[in-house]
Protein backbone atom coordinates (compact mmCIF):
# COMPACT_ATOMS: atom_id res chain seq x y z
CA UNK A 1 0.00 0.00 0.00
CA UNK A 2 1.54 3.34 -0.98
CA UNK A 3 1.64 6.07 1.60
CA UNK A 4 -1.34 8.42 1.53
CA UNK A 5 -0.10 11.99 1.86
CA UNK A 6 -3.43 13.71 1.70
CA UNK A 7 -6.88 12.38 2.33
CA UNK A 8 -9.97 14.51 1.97
CA UNK A 9 -13.54 13.20 1.97
CA UNK A 10 -16.73 14.92 1.01
CA UNK A 11 -15.03 18.25 0.38
CA UNK A 12 -17.53 21.00 -0.24
CA UNK A 13 -16.82 24.57 -1.24
CA UNK A 14 -19.55 27.13 -1.63
CA UNK A 15 -19.26 30.80 -2.42
CA UNK A 16 -21.58 33.59 -1.45
CA UNK A 17 -22.55 35.37 -4.63
CA UNK A 18 -25.11 38.03 -5.54
CA UNK A 19 -27.33 35.34 -7.01
CA UNK A 20 -27.17 33.04 -4.00
CA UNK A 21 -24.94 30.23 -2.76
CA UNK A 22 -22.76 28.86 -5.51
CA UNK A 23 -21.99 25.26 -4.67
CA UNK A 24 -18.83 24.94 -6.73
CA UNK A 25 -17.34 21.82 -5.13
CA UNK A 26 -20.01 19.36 -4.10
CA UNK A 27 -18.54 16.43 -2.23
CA UNK A 28 -15.12 15.63 -3.61
CA UNK A 29 -13.12 12.64 -2.32
CA UNK A 30 -9.43 12.90 -3.07
CA UNK A 31 -6.27 11.12 -2.01
CA UNK A 32 -2.76 12.11 -2.93
CA UNK A 33 -0.37 9.19 -2.71
CA UNK A 34 3.39 9.12 -2.65
CA UNK A 35 4.85 8.78 -6.11
CA UNK A 36 1.52 9.38 -7.78
CA UNK A 37 0.67 11.89 -10.49
CA UNK A 38 -3.04 12.42 -10.22
CA UNK A 39 -4.55 14.45 -13.02
CA UNK A 40 -7.76 16.30 -12.28
CA UNK A 41 -9.55 16.96 -15.56
CA UNK A 42 -12.81 18.60 -16.45
CA UNK A 43 -14.33 21.46 -18.36
CA UNK A 44 -13.59 25.01 -17.40
CA UNK A 45 -15.68 26.09 -14.41
CA UNK A 46 -16.25 22.61 -12.98
CA UNK A 47 -14.46 23.47 -9.75
CA UNK A 48 -10.89 22.25 -10.28
CA UNK A 49 -9.18 25.44 -9.17
CA UNK A 50 -11.44 25.88 -6.15
CA UNK A 51 -10.64 22.31 -5.12
CA UNK A 52 -6.93 23.13 -5.35
CA UNK A 53 -7.40 26.37 -3.42
CA UNK A 54 -9.30 24.48 -0.73
CA UNK A 55 -6.40 22.03 -0.39
CA UNK A 56 -3.99 24.98 -0.07
CA UNK A 57 -6.20 27.00 2.27
CA UNK A 58 -6.22 29.86 -0.21
CA UNK A 59 -9.96 30.26 -0.74
CA UNK A 60 -11.37 33.78 -0.64
CA UNK A 61 -12.91 34.96 2.59
CA UNK A 62 -16.45 34.62 1.29
CA UNK A 63 -15.94 30.94 0.55
CA UNK A 64 -17.31 28.29 2.84
CA UNK A 65 -15.45 24.99 3.10
CA UNK A 66 -16.54 21.77 4.82
CA UNK A 67 -15.41 18.17 4.74
CA UNK A 68 -15.98 14.90 6.60
CA UNK A 69 -12.29 14.16 6.76
CA UNK A 70 -9.25 16.24 5.85
CA UNK A 71 -5.88 14.76 6.77
CA UNK A 72 -2.54 16.10 5.66
CA UNK A 73 0.93 15.68 7.16
CA UNK A 74 -0.48 14.08 10.28
CA UNK A 75 -2.78 17.01 10.95
CA UNK A 76 -6.53 16.84 11.15
CA UNK A 77 -7.76 19.77 9.10
CA UNK A 78 -11.43 18.96 9.20
CA UNK A 79 -12.10 21.93 11.46
CA UNK A 80 -10.79 25.33 10.36
CA UNK A 81 -8.78 23.98 7.43
CA UNK A 82 -8.00 27.44 6.07
CA UNK A 83 -6.16 28.69 9.13
CA UNK A 84 -4.45 25.37 9.88
CA UNK A 85 -3.22 25.14 6.31
CA UNK A 86 -1.48 28.49 6.71
CA UNK A 87 1.15 26.65 8.77
CA UNK A 88 1.52 23.78 6.30
CA UNK A 89 1.74 25.81 3.12
CA UNK A 90 5.15 25.90 1.51
CA UNK A 91 6.60 23.15 3.70
CA UNK A 92 4.12 20.31 3.36
CA UNK A 93 2.15 21.33 0.34
CA UNK A 94 3.09 23.75 -2.41
CA UNK A 95 1.42 25.07 -5.50
CA UNK A 96 2.24 26.19 -9.01
CA UNK A 97 -0.10 28.52 -10.82
CA UNK A 98 -1.32 28.87 -14.35
CA UNK A 99 0.29 32.11 -15.41
CA UNK A 100 3.95 32.39 -14.41
CA UNK A 101 4.06 35.98 -15.65
CA UNK A 102 1.65 37.17 -13.00
CA UNK A 103 2.65 34.72 -10.27
CA UNK A 104 6.03 36.37 -9.68
CA UNK A 105 6.12 39.74 -7.96
CA UNK A 106 7.56 42.22 -10.49
CA UNK A 107 9.13 44.40 -7.81
CA UNK A 108 11.18 41.80 -5.93
CA UNK A 109 14.24 39.90 -7.08
CA UNK A 110 13.92 36.25 -7.94
CA UNK A 111 16.32 35.39 -5.13
CA UNK A 112 14.21 37.22 -2.58
CA UNK A 113 11.06 35.51 -3.75
CA UNK A 114 12.66 32.08 -3.66
CA UNK A 115 14.23 32.43 -0.24
CA UNK A 116 11.69 34.41 1.80
CA UNK A 117 9.54 31.37 2.58
CA UNK A 118 12.25 29.09 3.96
CA UNK A 119 14.08 31.88 5.74
CA UNK A 120 10.95 32.30 7.78
CA UNK A 121 9.67 28.74 8.11
CA UNK A 122 13.02 27.00 8.59
CA UNK A 123 14.91 29.94 10.03
CA UNK A 124 17.64 29.65 7.39
CA UNK A 125 20.11 32.51 7.13
CA UNK A 126 20.54 34.29 3.84
CA UNK A 127 23.54 32.26 2.73
CA UNK A 128 21.86 28.93 3.42
CA UNK A 129 18.64 30.05 1.78
CA UNK A 130 20.54 31.30 -1.27
CA UNK A 131 22.36 27.99 -1.51
CA UNK A 132 19.02 26.19 -1.46
CA UNK A 133 17.67 28.55 -4.12
CA UNK A 134 20.68 27.89 -6.34
CA UNK A 135 20.18 24.16 -5.89
CA UNK A 136 16.52 24.38 -6.85
CA UNK A 137 17.08 26.69 -9.82
CA UNK A 138 19.71 24.27 -11.02
CA UNK A 139 17.28 21.40 -10.60
CA UNK A 140 14.62 23.09 -12.71
CA UNK A 141 17.12 23.86 -15.46
CA UNK A 142 17.89 27.57 -14.99
CA UNK A 143 21.47 28.10 -16.10
CA UNK A 144 23.92 30.19 -14.10
CA UNK A 145 21.62 30.28 -11.07
CA UNK A 146 23.87 32.28 -8.70
CA UNK A 147 23.89 35.27 -11.00
CA UNK A 148 20.18 35.07 -11.64
CA UNK A 149 19.17 35.41 -8.02
CA UNK A 150 19.66 39.15 -8.17
CA UNK A 151 17.54 39.57 -11.30
CA UNK A 152 13.92 40.61 -11.47
CA UNK A 153 11.20 38.45 -13.05
CA UNK A 154 10.94 40.58 -16.19
CA UNK A 155 14.43 39.45 -17.20
CA UNK A 156 13.13 35.91 -17.73
CA UNK A 157 11.03 34.31 -20.47
CA UNK A 158 7.64 32.73 -19.76
CA UNK A 159 9.03 29.22 -19.67
CA UNK A 160 11.87 30.27 -17.38
CA UNK A 161 9.44 31.99 -15.07
CA UNK A 162 7.40 28.82 -14.77
CA UNK A 163 10.63 26.99 -13.94
CA UNK A 164 11.30 29.59 -11.27
CA UNK A 165 7.79 29.08 -9.91
CA UNK A 166 8.46 25.37 -9.73
CA UNK A 167 11.77 26.01 -7.98
CA UNK A 168 9.96 28.32 -5.57
CA UNK A 169 7.38 25.63 -4.83
CA UNK A 170 10.16 23.12 -4.14
CA UNK A 171 12.11 25.42 -1.80
CA UNK A 172 10.42 24.11 1.34
CA UNK A 173 10.92 20.51 0.18
CA UNK A 174 7.20 19.74 0.20
CA UNK A 175 6.00 16.21 -0.49
CA UNK A 176 2.79 17.32 -2.11
CA UNK A 177 2.74 19.55 -5.15
CA UNK A 178 -0.40 20.97 -6.67
CA UNK A 179 -0.10 22.39 -10.18
CA UNK A 180 -3.12 24.25 -11.53
CA UNK A 181 -2.91 24.25 -15.33
CA UNK A 182 0.84 24.92 -15.20
CA UNK A 183 1.31 24.85 -18.96
CA UNK A 184 -1.86 26.49 -20.25
CA UNK A 185 -0.30 29.94 -20.52
CA UNK A 186 2.86 28.75 -22.29
CA UNK A 187 3.88 28.15 -25.90
CA UNK A 188 3.28 24.60 -27.10
CA UNK A 189 6.99 23.71 -27.29
CA UNK A 190 7.60 25.09 -23.80
CA UNK A 191 4.58 23.19 -22.50
CA UNK A 192 6.23 19.88 -23.32
CA UNK A 193 9.45 20.92 -21.56
CA UNK A 194 7.67 22.01 -18.41
CA UNK A 195 5.61 18.82 -18.31
CA UNK A 196 8.71 16.71 -18.74
CA UNK A 197 10.36 18.65 -15.92
CA UNK A 198 7.38 18.12 -13.64
CA UNK A 199 7.40 14.41 -14.43
CA UNK A 200 11.12 14.13 -13.71
CA UNK A 201 10.87 16.04 -10.43
CA UNK A 202 7.90 13.98 -9.39
CA UNK A 203 9.83 10.74 -9.77
CA UNK A 204 13.26 11.86 -8.50
CA UNK A 205 11.81 13.60 -5.43
CA UNK A 206 9.06 11.04 -4.88
CA UNK A 207 6.46 13.80 -4.87
CA UNK A 208 2.77 13.33 -4.94
CA UNK A 209 1.67 15.54 -7.79
CA UNK A 210 -1.87 16.77 -8.27
CA UNK A 211 -1.97 18.18 -11.77
CA UNK A 212 -5.02 20.11 -12.84
CA UNK A 213 -5.62 20.43 -16.54
CA UNK A 214 -8.26 20.51 -19.21
CA UNK A 215 -5.81 19.21 -21.79
CA UNK A 216 -6.12 15.46 -22.37
CA UNK A 217 -2.76 15.40 -24.11
CA UNK A 218 -1.16 16.47 -20.83
CA UNK A 219 -3.03 13.71 -19.04
CA UNK A 220 -1.92 11.06 -21.50
CA UNK A 221 1.71 12.05 -21.22
CA UNK A 222 2.12 12.32 -17.47
CA UNK A 223 -0.74 10.90 -15.38
CA UNK A 224 -0.56 7.76 -13.30
CA UNK A 225 -4.15 8.30 -12.22
CA UNK A 226 -6.96 10.43 -13.54
CA UNK A 227 -9.95 11.99 -11.79
CA UNK A 228 -12.69 13.35 -14.01
CA UNK A 229 -14.61 16.24 -12.53
CA UNK A 230 -18.01 17.43 -13.60
CA UNK A 231 -20.03 20.25 -12.04
CA UNK A 232 -18.23 20.09 -8.72
CA UNK A 233 -17.97 16.31 -8.31
CA UNK A 234 -15.47 13.68 -9.32
CA UNK A 235 -17.61 11.39 -11.44
CA UNK A 236 -14.94 8.88 -12.32
CA UNK A 237 -11.44 8.07 -11.12
CA UNK A 238 -9.11 5.38 -12.41
CA UNK A 239 -5.50 4.57 -13.20
CA UNK A 240 -4.64 6.41 -16.39
CA UNK A 241 -4.28 3.27 -18.53
CA UNK A 242 -7.66 1.98 -17.45
CA UNK A 243 -9.40 5.26 -17.93
CA UNK A 244 -8.11 5.72 -21.45
CA UNK A 245 -8.80 2.14 -22.49
CA UNK A 246 -12.05 1.58 -20.72
CA UNK A 247 -13.78 4.81 -19.71
CA UNK A 248 -17.00 4.08 -17.89
CA UNK A 249 -18.83 7.29 -17.10
CA UNK A 250 -20.78 8.61 -20.06
CA UNK A 251 -19.10 11.99 -19.53
CA UNK A 252 -15.62 10.47 -19.62
CA UNK A 253 -16.55 8.57 -22.73
CA UNK A 254 -17.80 11.74 -24.31
CA UNK A 255 -14.50 13.44 -23.52
CA UNK A 256 -12.47 10.62 -25.02
CA UNK A 257 -14.68 9.96 -28.02
CA UNK A 258 -13.07 12.51 -30.26
CA UNK A 259 -9.67 10.98 -29.66
CA UNK A 260 -8.82 8.22 -32.12
CA UNK A 261 -6.20 6.30 -30.18
CA UNK A 262 -6.40 6.64 -26.43
CA UNK A 263 -3.07 7.39 -24.86
CA UNK A 264 -1.44 8.96 -27.87
CA UNK A 265 -3.51 12.09 -28.01
CA UNK A 266 -1.67 14.93 -29.67
CA UNK A 267 -0.71 17.49 -27.12
CA UNK A 268 -2.70 20.68 -27.00
CA UNK A 269 -5.98 19.10 -28.02
CA UNK A 270 -8.56 20.34 -25.59
CA UNK A 271 -11.68 18.67 -24.36
CA UNK A 272 -14.05 17.99 -27.23
CA UNK A 273 -17.40 19.67 -27.00
CA UNK A 274 -20.29 17.69 -25.66
CA UNK A 275 -23.79 18.77 -26.63
CA UNK A 276 -25.75 20.72 -24.05
CA UNK A 277 -24.68 23.01 -21.25
CA UNK A 278 -23.17 22.58 -17.81
CA UNK A 279 -25.88 23.01 -15.16
CA UNK A 280 -25.80 26.12 -12.98
CA UNK A 281 -24.19 25.57 -9.61
CA UNK A 282 -26.36 28.00 -7.65
CA UNK A 283 -28.45 26.29 -5.01
CA UNK A 284 -28.93 22.61 -4.27
CA UNK A 285 -28.61 20.02 -6.99
CA UNK A 286 -30.23 16.61 -6.98
CA UNK A 287 -29.19 13.46 -8.77
CA UNK A 288 -26.59 13.23 -11.49
CA UNK A 289 -25.48 16.62 -12.78
CA UNK A 290 -24.72 15.21 -16.21
CA UNK A 291 -28.14 13.67 -16.88
CA UNK A 292 -29.44 16.38 -19.22
CA UNK A 293 -26.49 15.97 -21.56
CA UNK A 294 -26.26 12.21 -21.23
CA UNK A 295 -27.43 9.82 -23.93
CA UNK A 296 -28.34 7.31 -21.23
CA UNK A 297 -30.11 9.83 -18.98
CA UNK A 298 -33.55 8.91 -17.65
CA UNK A 299 -35.91 9.97 -14.86
CA UNK A 300 -34.05 7.65 -12.50
CA UNK A 301 -30.97 9.88 -12.82
CA UNK A 302 -32.70 12.75 -11.00
CA UNK A 303 -32.83 10.89 -7.70
CA UNK A 304 -30.34 10.93 -4.87
CA UNK A 305 -27.82 9.55 -4.15
CA UNK A 306 -26.05 8.65 -7.36
CA UNK A 307 -24.70 5.12 -6.91
CA UNK A 308 -20.94 4.78 -6.73
CA UNK A 309 -19.29 1.67 -8.06
CA UNK A 310 -15.73 1.17 -6.89
CA UNK A 311 -13.07 -1.50 -6.71
CA UNK A 312 -10.14 -2.08 -4.40
CA UNK A 313 -7.64 -0.61 -6.84
CA UNK A 314 -9.11 2.81 -6.20
CA UNK A 315 -11.12 2.99 -9.37
CA UNK A 316 -14.64 4.30 -9.10
CA UNK A 317 -17.46 5.69 -11.17
CA UNK A 318 -20.63 7.46 -10.12
CA UNK A 319 -23.51 6.64 -12.43
CA UNK A 320 -26.94 5.02 -12.44
CA UNK A 321 -26.39 3.44 -15.81
CA UNK A 322 -23.01 1.75 -15.69
CA UNK A 323 -21.46 -0.85 -13.44
CA UNK A 324 -17.74 -1.61 -13.35
CA UNK A 325 -16.58 -4.47 -15.53
CA UNK A 326 -19.32 -3.77 -18.04
CA UNK A 327 -18.06 -3.76 -21.62
CA UNK A 328 -17.43 -0.25 -22.80
CA UNK A 329 -17.40 1.49 -26.16
Amino acid sequence: MTETLLDVRNLRVSLKTDRGMLNAVRGVDLQMKRGQTLCLVGESGCGKSLTAMALMGLLPRYANITSDCFDMAGEDLTQKPQSKLAKLRGRDVAMIFQDPTSALNPTLTVGRQLTEGVMRSEGLDRAAANARAVEMLDRVGISNPEARLTQYPHAFSGGQRQRIMIASALMGRPRRLIADEPTTALDVTIQAQILRLLGELQSTLGLSLLLITHDLGVVASIATDVAVMYAGRIVEQAPAEDLFHAPQHPYTRGLLRAIPVPGVTPRGSELPAIAGRVPGLIGEMRGCAFRDRCALGSSECASDPVPRHGDDAGRFVECFKVTPGEATQ
Partner: protein
Protein backbone atom coordinates in the same frame (compact mmCIF):
# COMPACT_ATOMS: atom_id res chain seq x y z
CA UNK B 1 19.27 53.04 -12.53
CA UNK B 2 21.82 55.89 -12.78
CA UNK B 3 21.18 56.07 -16.50
CA UNK B 4 17.48 56.34 -15.80
CA UNK B 5 17.98 59.14 -13.29
CA UNK B 6 20.29 60.98 -15.69
CA UNK B 7 17.71 60.69 -18.45
CA UNK B 8 14.93 61.99 -16.20
CA UNK B 9 17.10 64.92 -15.11
CA UNK B 10 17.82 65.89 -18.70
CA UNK B 11 14.11 65.83 -19.46
CA UNK B 12 13.42 67.86 -16.34
CA UNK B 13 16.01 70.42 -17.40
CA UNK B 14 14.39 70.79 -20.82
CA UNK B 15 11.01 71.27 -19.20
CA UNK B 16 12.50 73.91 -16.89
CA UNK B 17 13.86 75.84 -19.87
CA UNK B 18 10.49 75.73 -21.59
CA UNK B 19 8.64 76.71 -18.45
CA UNK B 20 10.96 79.62 -17.77
CA UNK B 21 10.58 80.83 -21.35
CA UNK B 22 6.82 80.73 -20.99
CA UNK B 23 6.83 82.63 -17.71
CA UNK B 24 9.17 85.15 -19.28
CA UNK B 25 6.78 85.53 -22.18
CA UNK B 26 3.94 86.26 -19.76
CA UNK B 27 5.46 89.69 -19.32
CA UNK B 28 4.55 90.48 -22.89
CA UNK B 29 1.22 88.71 -22.94
CA UNK B 30 -0.77 91.76 -21.93
CA UNK B 31 0.83 93.91 -24.62
CA UNK B 32 3.68 96.34 -24.22
CA UNK B 33 4.91 96.07 -20.62
CA UNK B 34 6.26 99.58 -20.67
CA UNK B 35 2.81 100.98 -21.37
CA UNK B 36 1.37 98.71 -18.71
CA UNK B 37 3.85 100.03 -16.16
CA UNK B 38 3.32 103.61 -17.20
CA UNK B 39 -0.36 103.10 -16.44
CA UNK B 40 -3.47 103.84 -18.45
CA UNK B 41 -2.99 107.59 -18.32
CA UNK B 42 0.75 107.52 -18.95
CA UNK B 43 2.32 109.66 -21.64
CA UNK B 44 4.22 108.20 -24.57
CA UNK B 45 7.50 109.72 -23.33
CA UNK B 46 7.07 108.03 -19.95
CA UNK B 47 6.51 104.69 -21.62
CA UNK B 48 9.62 105.25 -23.73
CA UNK B 49 11.68 106.11 -20.67
CA UNK B 50 10.41 103.04 -18.86
CA UNK B 51 11.18 100.90 -21.90
CA UNK B 52 14.80 101.98 -21.76
CA UNK B 53 15.05 101.87 -17.97
CA UNK B 54 13.70 98.30 -17.82
CA UNK B 55 15.64 97.23 -20.91
CA UNK B 56 12.55 96.35 -22.96
CA UNK B 57 14.24 97.85 -26.00
CA UNK B 58 16.84 95.09 -26.19
CA UNK B 59 16.40 91.88 -28.30
CA UNK B 60 14.06 89.33 -26.64
CA UNK B 61 16.69 86.63 -26.33
CA UNK B 62 19.04 88.97 -24.51
CA UNK B 63 16.25 90.03 -22.18
CA UNK B 64 15.36 86.37 -21.52
CA UNK B 65 18.94 85.32 -20.76
CA UNK B 66 19.38 88.36 -18.57
CA UNK B 67 16.17 87.50 -16.73
CA UNK B 68 17.14 83.83 -16.27
CA UNK B 69 20.59 84.85 -15.10
CA UNK B 70 19.17 87.17 -12.45
CA UNK B 71 16.54 84.61 -11.43
CA UNK B 72 19.29 82.07 -10.86
CA UNK B 73 21.00 84.44 -8.47
CA UNK B 74 17.73 85.02 -6.65
CA UNK B 75 16.95 88.35 -8.27
CA UNK B 76 13.39 88.08 -9.51
CA UNK B 77 13.03 91.75 -10.38
CA UNK B 78 11.17 94.62 -8.73
CA UNK B 79 7.57 94.60 -7.71
CA UNK B 80 5.80 97.31 -9.69
CA UNK B 81 3.28 97.87 -6.92
CA UNK B 82 5.53 97.87 -3.84
CA UNK B 83 8.71 98.92 -5.58
CA UNK B 84 10.78 96.47 -3.56
CA UNK B 85 12.49 93.27 -4.78
CA UNK B 86 10.09 90.49 -5.68
CA UNK B 87 12.26 87.96 -3.87
CA UNK B 88 11.68 89.86 -0.63
CA UNK B 89 7.91 89.80 -1.01
CA UNK B 90 7.83 86.14 -1.92
CA UNK B 91 10.32 85.22 0.76
CA UNK B 92 7.97 86.62 3.40
CA UNK B 93 5.03 84.64 2.10
CA UNK B 94 6.50 81.38 0.95
CA UNK B 95 7.34 79.91 4.34
CA UNK B 96 3.70 80.16 5.46
CA UNK B 97 2.56 78.30 2.38
CA UNK B 98 5.33 75.73 2.59
CA UNK B 99 4.56 74.91 6.23
CA UNK B 100 0.87 74.73 5.52
CA UNK B 101 1.38 72.58 2.41
CA UNK B 102 3.94 70.19 3.79
CA UNK B 103 2.11 69.62 7.08
CA UNK B 104 -1.25 69.14 5.35
CA UNK B 105 0.35 66.74 2.91
CA UNK B 106 1.97 64.68 5.64
CA UNK B 107 -1.21 64.56 7.68
CA UNK B 108 -3.24 63.55 4.63
CA UNK B 109 -0.71 60.84 3.77
CA UNK B 110 -0.55 59.48 7.29
CA UNK B 111 -4.32 59.15 7.36
CA UNK B 112 -4.89 58.10 3.75
CA UNK B 113 -2.44 55.21 3.42
CA UNK B 114 -3.34 53.15 6.50
CA UNK B 115 -7.02 53.86 5.97
CA UNK B 116 -6.79 52.85 2.31
CA UNK B 117 -5.01 49.63 3.21
CA UNK B 118 -7.46 48.76 5.97
CA UNK B 119 -10.39 49.49 3.67
CA UNK B 120 -8.93 47.31 0.93
CA UNK B 121 -8.38 44.36 3.23
CA UNK B 122 -12.12 44.08 3.78
CA UNK B 123 -14.00 45.80 0.98
CA UNK B 124 -17.47 46.77 2.20
CA UNK B 125 -16.43 46.10 5.78
CA UNK B 126 -17.05 48.74 8.42
CA UNK B 127 -13.65 50.41 7.99
CA UNK B 128 -14.25 50.63 4.28
CA UNK B 129 -17.65 52.22 4.86
CA UNK B 130 -16.28 54.78 7.30
CA UNK B 131 -13.46 55.55 4.88
CA UNK B 132 -15.95 56.02 2.08
CA UNK B 133 -18.04 58.42 4.14
CA UNK B 134 -14.92 60.38 5.10
CA UNK B 135 -13.80 60.52 1.48
CA UNK B 136 -17.14 61.61 0.10
CA UNK B 137 -17.66 64.29 2.73
CA UNK B 138 -14.06 65.46 2.30
CA UNK B 139 -14.67 65.91 -1.38
CA UNK B 140 -18.17 67.31 -1.10
CA UNK B 141 -17.81 69.86 1.70
CA UNK B 142 -16.25 73.08 0.41
CA UNK B 143 -13.05 73.97 2.25
CA UNK B 144 -14.16 77.51 3.02
CA UNK B 145 -17.30 76.29 4.76
CA UNK B 146 -15.42 73.66 6.72
CA UNK B 147 -12.78 76.25 7.58
CA UNK B 148 -15.36 78.76 8.82
CA UNK B 149 -17.15 76.09 10.83
CA UNK B 150 -13.88 74.99 12.39
CA UNK B 151 -13.09 78.58 13.32
CA UNK B 152 -16.52 79.08 14.83
CA UNK B 153 -16.44 75.85 16.85
CA UNK B 154 -12.82 75.55 17.94
CA UNK B 155 -11.76 79.16 17.77
CA UNK B 156 -14.82 81.07 18.89
CA UNK B 157 -16.82 78.66 21.07
CA UNK B 158 -14.08 76.65 22.69
CA UNK B 159 -11.24 79.08 22.15
CA UNK B 160 -8.73 76.28 21.75
CA UNK B 161 -6.93 77.84 18.82
CA UNK B 162 -6.39 81.34 17.49
CA UNK B 163 -9.14 82.49 15.18
CA UNK B 164 -6.83 83.68 12.46
CA UNK B 165 -3.26 84.38 11.50
CA UNK B 166 -0.06 82.40 11.73
CA UNK B 167 1.79 84.17 14.48
CA UNK B 168 1.97 81.02 16.60
CA UNK B 169 2.07 77.39 15.58
CA UNK B 170 -1.42 76.89 16.98
CA UNK B 171 -2.64 79.06 14.15
CA UNK B 172 -1.68 76.32 11.75
CA UNK B 173 -3.71 73.57 13.41
CA UNK B 174 -7.08 74.25 11.85
CA UNK B 175 -5.89 75.19 8.36
CA UNK B 176 -3.66 72.11 8.23
CA UNK B 177 -6.53 69.86 9.22
CA UNK B 178 -8.98 71.45 6.81
CA UNK B 179 -6.52 71.41 3.93
CA UNK B 180 -5.42 67.83 4.57
CA UNK B 181 -9.04 66.73 4.76
CA UNK B 182 -9.40 68.17 1.30
CA UNK B 183 -6.33 66.33 -0.01
CA UNK B 184 -6.85 63.02 1.80
CA UNK B 185 -9.77 61.41 -0.09
CA UNK B 186 -8.04 61.07 -3.46
CA UNK B 187 -4.94 59.54 -1.88
CA UNK B 188 -7.02 57.20 0.25
CA UNK B 189 -9.11 56.03 -2.68
CA UNK B 190 -6.11 55.38 -4.88
CA UNK B 191 -4.39 53.43 -2.09
CA UNK B 192 -7.54 51.41 -1.55
CA UNK B 193 -8.16 50.59 -5.21
CA UNK B 194 -4.48 49.87 -5.86
CA UNK B 195 -4.41 47.57 -2.86
CA UNK B 196 -7.59 45.76 -3.88
CA UNK B 197 -6.16 45.17 -7.35
CA UNK B 198 -2.85 43.97 -6.02
CA UNK B 199 -4.38 41.71 -3.37
CA UNK B 200 -6.22 39.88 -6.16
CA UNK B 201 -3.07 39.20 -8.15
CA UNK B 202 -1.46 35.82 -8.61
CA UNK B 203 1.76 36.92 -6.97
CA UNK B 204 -0.01 37.75 -3.75
CA UNK B 205 -1.67 34.35 -3.85
CA UNK B 206 1.71 32.79 -4.62
CA UNK B 207 3.23 34.64 -1.66
CA UNK B 208 0.52 33.23 0.58
CA UNK B 209 1.10 29.79 -0.92
CA UNK B 210 4.68 29.99 0.36
CA UNK B 211 3.31 30.15 3.88
CA UNK B 212 4.22 33.79 4.49
CA UNK B 213 2.12 35.45 7.18
CA UNK B 214 -0.47 37.91 5.94
CA UNK B 215 1.43 40.84 7.44
CA UNK B 216 4.48 40.07 5.29
CA UNK B 217 2.31 39.46 2.24
CA UNK B 218 0.64 42.84 2.67
CA UNK B 219 3.68 44.95 3.40
CA UNK B 220 6.35 43.25 1.30
CA UNK B 221 4.39 42.00 -1.67
CA UNK B 222 1.23 44.04 -1.95
CA UNK B 223 1.99 47.53 -0.67
CA UNK B 224 5.08 48.06 -2.80
CA UNK B 225 3.05 47.49 -5.95
CA UNK B 226 -0.06 49.23 -4.68
CA UNK B 227 1.68 52.53 -3.91
CA UNK B 228 3.01 53.03 -7.46
CA UNK B 229 -0.07 55.00 -8.60
CA UNK B 230 -0.16 56.79 -5.23
CA UNK B 231 3.36 58.14 -5.71
CA UNK B 232 2.41 59.92 -8.92
CA UNK B 233 -0.81 61.26 -7.45
CA UNK B 234 0.88 62.37 -4.23
CA UNK B 235 3.44 64.38 -6.19
CA UNK B 236 0.67 66.31 -7.91
CA UNK B 237 -1.22 66.74 -4.63
CA UNK B 238 1.85 68.06 -2.87
CA UNK B 239 2.40 70.46 -5.77
CA UNK B 240 -1.17 71.70 -5.38
CA UNK B 241 -0.84 72.14 -1.63
CA UNK B 242 2.44 74.01 -2.01
CA UNK B 243 0.94 76.32 -4.59
CA UNK B 244 -1.02 77.87 -1.79
CA UNK B 245 -4.74 77.73 -1.37
CA UNK B 246 -6.41 81.10 -1.90
CA UNK B 247 -9.51 79.87 -0.09
CA UNK B 248 -7.79 78.46 2.98
CA UNK B 249 -5.36 81.35 3.24
CA UNK B 250 -8.19 83.85 3.00
CA UNK B 251 -10.45 82.08 5.51
CA UNK B 252 -7.68 81.72 8.08
CA UNK B 253 -6.07 85.07 7.25
CA UNK B 254 -2.73 83.51 6.44
CA UNK B 255 -0.39 85.52 4.26
CA UNK B 256 0.73 82.84 1.88
CA UNK B 257 1.57 82.50 -1.78
CA UNK B 258 -2.00 81.82 -2.81
CA UNK B 259 -3.23 85.17 -1.58
CA UNK B 260 -0.14 86.95 -2.86
CA UNK B 261 -0.73 85.56 -6.35
CA UNK B 262 -4.35 86.60 -6.25
CA UNK B 263 -3.65 90.11 -4.96
CA UNK B 264 -0.80 90.61 -7.40
CA UNK B 265 -3.05 89.66 -10.27
CA UNK B 266 -5.60 92.23 -9.15
CA UNK B 267 -2.82 94.85 -8.86
CA UNK B 268 -1.34 93.87 -12.25
CA UNK B 269 1.93 93.37 -10.41
CA UNK B 270 3.32 91.30 -13.26
CA UNK B 271 6.85 90.65 -11.94
CA UNK B 272 5.39 89.06 -8.81
CA UNK B 273 2.91 86.95 -10.75
CA UNK B 274 5.65 85.94 -13.11
CA UNK B 275 7.96 84.92 -10.28
CA UNK B 276 5.26 82.92 -8.53
CA UNK B 277 4.41 81.09 -11.74
CA UNK B 278 8.07 80.36 -12.33
CA UNK B 279 8.65 79.05 -8.82
CA UNK B 280 5.55 76.86 -8.83
CA UNK B 281 6.30 75.46 -12.27
CA UNK B 282 9.81 74.53 -11.26
CA UNK B 283 8.41 73.00 -8.10
CA UNK B 284 6.06 70.83 -10.15
CA UNK B 285 8.89 69.75 -12.41
CA UNK B 286 10.96 68.80 -9.39
CA UNK B 287 8.11 66.91 -7.74
CA UNK B 288 7.13 64.90 -10.80
CA UNK B 289 10.74 64.09 -11.53
CA UNK B 290 11.18 62.94 -7.97
CA UNK B 291 8.00 60.83 -8.22
CA UNK B 292 9.24 59.19 -11.42
CA UNK B 293 12.55 58.33 -9.82
CA UNK B 294 10.84 57.02 -6.70
CA UNK B 295 8.59 54.83 -8.83
CA UNK B 296 11.62 53.47 -10.65
CA UNK B 297 13.22 52.64 -7.32
CA UNK B 298 10.07 50.74 -6.35
CA UNK B 299 9.44 49.04 -9.69
CA UNK B 300 12.45 47.72 -11.60
CA UNK B 301 10.43 47.42 -14.81
CA UNK B 302 10.36 51.21 -15.06
CA UNK B 303 14.15 51.44 -15.01
CA UNK B 304 14.47 50.14 -18.54
CA UNK B 305 17.45 47.85 -18.78
CA UNK B 306 17.86 45.57 -15.78
Amino acid sequence: MLAFIAKRLVVAFCVCVTVSAISFALMFLSGDPAIAIAGAGGRAQDAEAIRIAYGFDRPLIVQYLDWVGSALTGDLGQSIYFNIPVSEIIGNRISVTMWLGVLSFLLALVVAVPLGIAAALRPNGWIDRIALVLAVTGQAIPSFWLGLMAIVVFGVWYGWVPISGAKTWQGFILPVIVLSYYAMPAMMRITRSGMIDVLATDYVRAARAKGLPMRVVIFRHALRNAVLPLVSLAAVQLGLLLSGSIVIESVFALNGLGRLAWESLLRSDLPVVQAIILILSLLYVALTTFADILNAVLDPRLRGAN
